[in-house]
Symmetry: C2
Subunit: 94 residues, 2 copies
């Protein structure tokens, strides 16, 4: 879980508690805990808020969050992942 690992690392480096972040997000702390563990997914619109609270780049966090979502699509399709990504890149660059 790229996104989860990143926000945990950021929070710990800043010596913040989960409840600081969850309060700033107006979110149940249990929920935030699950997001940080990768058990639940943050909503798209929460990413920039989290970035603000943790004082980091929103685009970087969003990129990791998107990458997680793509990894989930490719879950269990290891042998087709590479070819699939080729098709996607080709589609995007056109």
């Amino acid at each position: 879980m790229l996104f989860a690992n990143k926000i945990r690392e950021l929070r710990e480096n800043k010596q913040m508690l989960q409840r600081h972040v969850s309060a700033a997000l107006d979110m149940d702390n249990a929920m935030y805990c699950k997001i940080e563990k990768g058990d639940r997914r943050a909503k798209r619109e929460q990413i920039p808020l989290i970035a603000g609270i943790l004082q980091t780049d929103a685009e970087e966090l969003l990129t990791l969050w998107l990458a997680d979502n793509i990894m989930e699509v490719l879950e269990g399709e290891k042998e087709l992942a590479e070819q699939t990504l080729k098709v996607v890149i080709e589609k995007i660059n056109r």
Copy 2:
């Protein structure tokens, strides 16, 4: 819709009717119509069945179906798509 376009093309080239395919899939024809138009998504386990009916390579169809799913994740994130895919590829090749 890569997958949708492909199965339509395959079906038409074989002069098959939608109801032939939907019957073989034990599926409501309206549903198959929507899948072929890209309004609804085929289930993962239906892909090899469809490939069998249309006598084509299941892996190729599956690749297109996965690519559609990834495109949906990247929908509206055009400016981050490239970087995101880089992260995914890096993650996969490790």
